[in-house]
């Protein structure tokens, strides 16, 4: 092993031949000095490391529903199976995050600070944090970071209520793009879950015709389909339902460790390259 500070830990050239710096595009050349290291452009996040897969969410007649599984993947390795990706912010807002888990944790802290300054410090009972405020704040954070060429590597869905108590659902991602829709999903979910959700809610305005039971069923189906076909997903997920009760008060239901039930893997044997390799 080479013990020169600039070469530390590299296989020695005598034994293995010179290292080809082309391999790593940000490699440190042999003639490196401290000065030339300083001159090297600063590097920022260029890919996520530990990742969470899809978040799916939808409005229904008197609230919103959101679900995300508990897997943290390291590339294709199922590294963690206990990652909570739905965060409650304030009293009636949920934030669901997919993408890099460490960036998600950073966003969790940012949101905690926001909650402290807007809710905890306010003791005169002023207006409180709503989903729209949280979403706008996050979109500024995300856009600001992408403008510094140092994005937080996440796709985020924010769900809750508008001031007039109509359901709120909006998306923001690592480049600062935002949009709202009655059904939103990130990652693989936007390919696999959105068609199922849109079967129930074909157009944005149609969410008013759908009740909690119907949408819960479709979310359950979507999570199953995602577990079947998304190799980075898990069979355990968290689900949040925020709705209004008969008196118009907000009810926040956070259900953890929901299992993907009624699985059937019979289809697998008919698909080449899926599951068993006996073919």
């Amino acid at each position: 092993m080479n013990h020169d500070p600039f070469q530390w830990g590299r296989p020695s050239n005598e034994t293995y031949g010179a290292y080809n710096h082309q391999i790593a595009n940000a490699g440190v050349p042999d003639n490196t000095t401290h000065a030339s290291l300083d001159a090297f452009p600063k590097m920022h996040t260029q890919q996520p490391i530990i990742t969470g897969t899809s978040v799916i969410a939808s409005k229904f007649n008197n609230g919103i529903i959101m679900a995300a599984d508990n897997v943290g993947s390291y590339g294709s390795l199922l590294r963690f199976s206990n990652i909570e990706r739905l965060i409650k912010v304030g009293s009636e807002t949920v934030v669901g995050l997919s993408g890099d888990v460490s960036d998600m944790q950073q966003i969790e802290r940012i949101l905690d600070e926001l909650e402290t300054s807007e809710e905890v410090y306010d003791n005169d009972g002023g207006d409180y944090l709503r989903a729209a405020n949280v979403h706008e704040y996050l979109s500024r954070v995300m856009y600001n970071r992408r403008s510094k060429m140092n994005p937080l590597w996440n796709s985020i869905i924010v769900g809750g209520f508008y001031r007039d108590r109509t359901p709120f659902l909006k998306y923001v991602d690592l480049v600062g793009v935002t949009y709202s829709s009655s059904t939103i999903a990130t990652g693989f979910g936007s390919h696999l879950a959105i068609p199922l959700l849109r079967n129930l809610i074909p157009e944005d305005k149609d969410y008013v015709k759908v009740d909690e039971q119907q949408i819960t069923k479709v979310v359950e189906d979507s999570m199953r389909v995602l577990f079947y076909r998304d190799a980075r997903s898990g069979d355990k997920y968290s689900q949040v339902i925020i709705k209004l009760d008969e008196e118009g008060k907000v009810v926040f239901e956070f259900t953890k460790e929901v299992k993907v039930e009624n699985q059937s893997w019979r289809f697998a044997k008919d698909i080449r390259g899926y599951g068993s390799s006996q073919q």
Binding site: V120, Y121, N123
Partner: protein, 259 residues
């Protein structure tokens, strides 16, 4: 007062020959005229209460809160110059926030008090500033249970079981000394706080007051610092005024007897 005319009271950071800092002592005078604040530490939480003197009928009832929250689990109440108190709370919030941004954990109450003690003490060391015109009572719950502290303009900061400051402090202190802090439960403490503030108000009877009570408890507020709910506040007020009626009746009876 011995300090007047000697010149030793004109500046911070200057001792008198007998070792006193008069500016700090004057700051205490500012506190002694403020509405009474108290804090009670019981076995399962902390209660803060303040006698909020109503200076004008035009003030909106129930607004202009005096008790403030520093972090989810810590509350502050103070007597003295209110703007100084606001500044003190802002600093406390900054300290709590900066601790969290470094260690990703909530600050413990003793650690926060350490930092605030240092901050307040700094205002006694330079002649370009004046000391804080407040005595503040800080209470909260952390991993080591409930804590209650009181900070004075000198920067000295002690832990207490029961603390009182402001105009009615003497009376409040003598009442607080009667309590058994090992056995006291927080719901009882809320009522007692109301009673003590009520008694302490005797000194200041010409002015109306509004009662503000907050608490931190594992059981009732999940370790958060919050104002007590309205029904409990009403119950406490009723409890505080109970004996009053009896006394008044007795007095009336006495009057009748004389007649």
């Amino acid at each position: 007062m011995t300090s007047i005319g000697t010149g030793y009271d004109l500046s911070n950071s200057v001792f008198s020959p007998d070792g006193r800092n008069f500016q700090v002592e004057y700051a205490m005078k500012a506190v002694e005229n403020g509405g009474t604040s108290i804090g009670i530490k019981c076995k399962d939480g902390v209660v803060l209460a303040v006698e909020k003197i109503i200076n004008s009928k035009l003030l909106v009832p129930g607004k202009n809160k005096r008790i403030q929250t520093v972090d989810r689990h810590i509350g502050v109440v103070y007597s003295g110059l209110l703007p100084d108190g606001r500044h003190f709370v802002n600093r406390a919030r900054d300290e709590a926030q900066s601790f969290k941004s470094i260690y990703k954990n909530s600050i413990s109450v003793p650690h926060l008090m350490d930092r605030l003690g240092i901050y307040v003490q700094n205002y006694t060391c330079y002649n370009s500033v004046r000391p804080f015109g407040i005595v503040s009572i800080v209470g909260g719950i952390d991993d080591n249970g409930p804590h209650l502290y009181m900070i004075e303009p000198s920067g000295s900061c002690w832990g207490y079981s029961g603390a009182a400051t402001g105009k009615g402090r003497q009376l409040a202190k003598s009442e607080l000394e009667k309590l058994n802090y090992e056995e006291l439960e927080i719901k009882e403490a809320v009522k007692l706080a109301a009673k003590i503030i009520h008694l302490a108000h005797e000194d200041n009877k010409d002015k109306d007051y509004e009662l503000e009570i907050s608490w931190v408890s594992k059981e009732f507020t999940k370790g958060r610092h919050e104002f007590v709910p309205d029904d409990l506040l009403e119950e406490a007020k009723k409890f505080a005024e109970e004996d009053d009626d009896e006394e008044e009746e007795e007095e009336e009876e006495g009057d009748e007897m004389q007649e």
